[in-house]
C-alpha cells in the first residue's frame, strides 16, 4: 500500500513545490508560487463551482433515494433483489453509463427525436453540453451511494414507532415526514458524504456531458497535466482537492464518531 498509494502522493506533493521548466518540464527552485496562483479568482471560482455543483447533486439525490430506500426496506423477501438492482448499474462502467446519457441527450439523440416526432418541439433542444446535463449525469452515477446508507438506517427503525404515530392520528405521509425522516438523518448524512466526495472530484462526467464548457476542478487538473503541460501547478490543485476531500471526511467523522469504514 505504501508503494502503491503513498509514494505517488509524496511525488505529487514534491512536484507541487517545484517550478515549471522551459519546455514544460520541472525545475528548481523550490517554491510556494503554485499555491499562491490558486488564489486567482479564476481558480477560486472553479473550486466554488465544483462545490456548488456537488452540493446540488447531493441535495437532488436525497428525495430520489429516500422513497427508493423506503420501498426496498418494506419489500420483505425481495429486499436483496431490489438492493442488487440498485447497485448493478453502479458497477457496470461509469463510461458506458455516461455515454448512454450522451446517446439520449444529443441534438440527434433519442429524447430530441421523440419530442420532434410528437411535434412538441420543431427544432432540437440543446440538452447536452451544459451544467444541467452534468448534474443529471452525476445524480445518475452516484444515486446508489445515497440509497444504501439510507436503507441501512431505515432497516434499524422500529416499525412500532410508525404504528404509534398512526395511532396518535398521523396520516401515513405525516408519519414518514415527522417520524421516519428525522430518524434516518444519520443515513442521509452518510449518503451525502458518499455522494458529495466523488461528485467534487469527478472528471469523466463533466468532461463528456459538459463538453468542455462545464469546467470543474478535476478537469483543470487533467488539463494542466496534458495540454497545458504545467505539472507543478496541476499538482498543487490536486493536493488542494485531496486536502478538501480528506478534510470533509474528518469533519464528518468527528461529528458522527463513525469511521469512513
Amino acid at each position: 500500500m505504501v508503494g502503491f498509494f503513498l509514494l505517488p502522493m509524496v511525488v505529487i506533493l514534491t512536484y507541487s513545490l517545484l517550478t515549471r521548466g522551459t519546455y514544460g518540464g520541472l525545475g528548481l527552485p523550490w517554491t510556494l508560487e503554485n499555491y499562491q496562483r490558486l488564489a486567482d479568482p479564476l481558480y477560486l471560482t472553479i473550486f466554488l463551482r465544483s462545490f456548488l455543483l456537488a452540493g446540488v447533486v447531493t441535495v437532488l439525490c436525497i428525495p430520489l433515494a429516500f422513497p427508493l430506500a423506503l420501498f426496498i426496506s418494506r419489500s420483505g423477501r425481495r429486499k436483496l433483489l431490489w438492493l442488487n438492482l440498485v447497485m448493478l448499474p453502479f458497477f457496470t462502467s461509469l463510461l458506458v453509463r455516461t455515454y448512454a446519457w450522451m446517446f439520449l441527450l444529443r441534438d440527434t439523440g433519442l429524447v430530441n427525436a421523440i419530442l420532434l416526432k410528437l411535434g412538441i418541439i420543431t427544432s432540437p433542444l440543446p440538452l447536452l453540453y451544459n451544467d444541467g446535463a452534468v448534474l443529471l449525469g452525476l445524480v445518475y452515477s452516484y444515486l446508489p451511494f445515497m440509497v444504501l446508507p439510507v436503507y441501512a438506517t431505515l432497516e434499524r427503525v422500529d416499525p412500532a414507532l410508525l404504528e404509534a404515530a398512526a395511532d396518535l392520528g398521523e396520516r401515513p405521509w405525516g408519519a414518514i415526514r415527522r417520524v421516519l425522516l428525522p430518524l434516518t438523518r444519520p443515513g442521509i448524512l452518510a449518503g451525502s458524504v458518499l455522494v458529495f466526495i466523488p461528485s467534487l472530484g469527478s472528471y469523466l462526467t463533466p468532461d463528456l456531458l459538459g463538453g468542455g464548457k462545464s469546467i470543474l476542478v478535476g478537469n483543470v487538473i487533467q488539463n494542466q497535466f496534458t495540454s497545458a503541460r504545467d505539472w507543478p501547478f496541476g499538482a498543487s490543485i490536486a493536493i488542494c482537492l485531496m486536502l478538501l476531500v480528506f478534510g470533509l471526511l474528518r469533519a464528518w467523522e468527528s461529528r458522527t464518531g463513525e469511521g469512513i469504514e
Binding site: F4, Y140, F225, A238, L241
Partner: protein, 252 residues
C-alpha cells in the same frame, strides 16, 4: 405498502435503467439514426470487422487479466497481514486511496512514473497501465478479503499451529480454503474495475496501449456511431454478469 410509494420507486428504477435499456435496444436497430427501423445485428458485425476495436479489446483483456492476478495476490496477502497485525495507519491508507478522486490518483501515478523512468529511460506504455491498475485494484481486494477474514474464527489457525503446522501451512491449509469465495469475488471486482477504467488509464497510457474505454471515449466525443452502442451493450452485459457472480460468491 402504499401505492404512491410503489409508483415512486418504479419511476426511480426506470430512471436507473432506461438509459442503459435504450442504449441496448438501439444497438440492434437497423439504422444509424434514432428512428427504429427493425432488428439487425449489423453494428455487432461492424465491431467484429474493425481491427482497431479488436486490438483495443485484446489490450483491455490482457491488462485486466494481468492486473487482476497481481492485485488479487498482493491484496489477499495484505489483507491477511492486516488481519493478523492490526495497523490503523495501513487501514486508513486503504480507505484514503478509495476516496481519492480518480484524476488525482491518475496524475500522481503519472508523476511517479515520469520521475522514476526518466532515470531508467523507460517510456509509458502497457506496463505503466498495468502497474497503475494494480495500484487501484489492490484496495478493493483488501476490502473484500478483509471483510471475510473479520467474520472468521482466528482460533482455527491457532489450533493448526498448536498441532504443529508452520505459519505458512496454517495459512495455506486452514485459512486460505475458507477465503476462496471472497478471493474469487475480489478478483471479479478487480477485473471489472480494471476493464472499465478510463481516467487513470488515459493519463498513464503510452502509444501501444489503447484500451477499450479509451476507444469508446474517443468515439463518444466524435459523431455518434451505433457501433459504439453495440460495444457498450456488450460491456454492460459482460460486466453486469461478472458483478452478479461476484455478489453471489461473496454471500456464499
Amino acid at each position: 405498502m402504499s401505492l404512491t410509494l410503489r409508483a415512486m420507486a418504479g419511476v426511480i428504477f426506470a430512471f436507473l435503467y432506461l438509459p442503459l435499456g435504450a442504449l441496448i435496444a438501439f444497438s440492434v436497430n437497423d439504422s444509424a439514426s434514432t428512428v427504429w427501423e427493425g432488428f439487425s445485428w449489423r453494428w455487432y458485425l461492424e465491431l467484429w470487422n474493425d481491427p482497431q476495436i479488436l486490438n483495443a479489446t485484446a489490450n483491455s483483456l490482457l491488462i485486466a487479466t494481468i492486473s487482476t492476478v497481481l492485485s488479487t495476490a498482493i491484496g489477499t496477502l495484505a489483507a491477511y497481514a492486516l488481519w493478523k497485525r492490526r495497523s490503523r495507519t495501513l487501514i486508513t491508507t486503504v480507505y484514503l486511496s478509495l476516496v481519492t478522486p480518480e484524476v488525482v490518483m491518475g496524475v500522481a501515478l503519472l508523476a511517479l512514473y515520469q520521475a522514476v523512468f526518466r532515470y531508467l529511460d523507460i517510456q509509458l506504455g502497457m506496463h505503466t497501465v498495468i502497474l497503475a491498475h494494480v495500484s487501484f485494484c489492490i484496495s478493493y481486494v483488501v476490502l473484500v478479503v478483509l471483510a471475510r477474514l473479520r467474520t472468521m474464527d482466528g482460533s482455527l489457525e491457532e489450533a493448526a499451529l498448536d498441532l504443529g503446522a508452520t505459519e505458512w501451512q496454517a495459512f495455506y491449509r486452514v485459512t486460505l480454503p475458507s477465503l476462496t469465495p471472497a478471493i474469487a469475488a475480489a478478483a471479479l471486482l478487480a477485473f471489472s474495475t480494471s476493464f472499465d477504467d478510463y481516467v487513470i488509464t488515459s493519463l498513464v497510457a503510452g502509444v501501444d496501449s489503447e484500451t477499450l474505454p479509451m476507444l469508446i471515449y474517443a468515439k463518444a466525443r466524435r459523431a455518434i456511431s451505433p457501433s459504439v452502442n453495440a460495444l457498450c451493450a456488450i460491456i454492460v452485459v459482460v460486466i453486469g454478469t461478472l458483478v452478479l457472480l461476484a455478489q453471489r460468491l461473496q454471500k456464499s
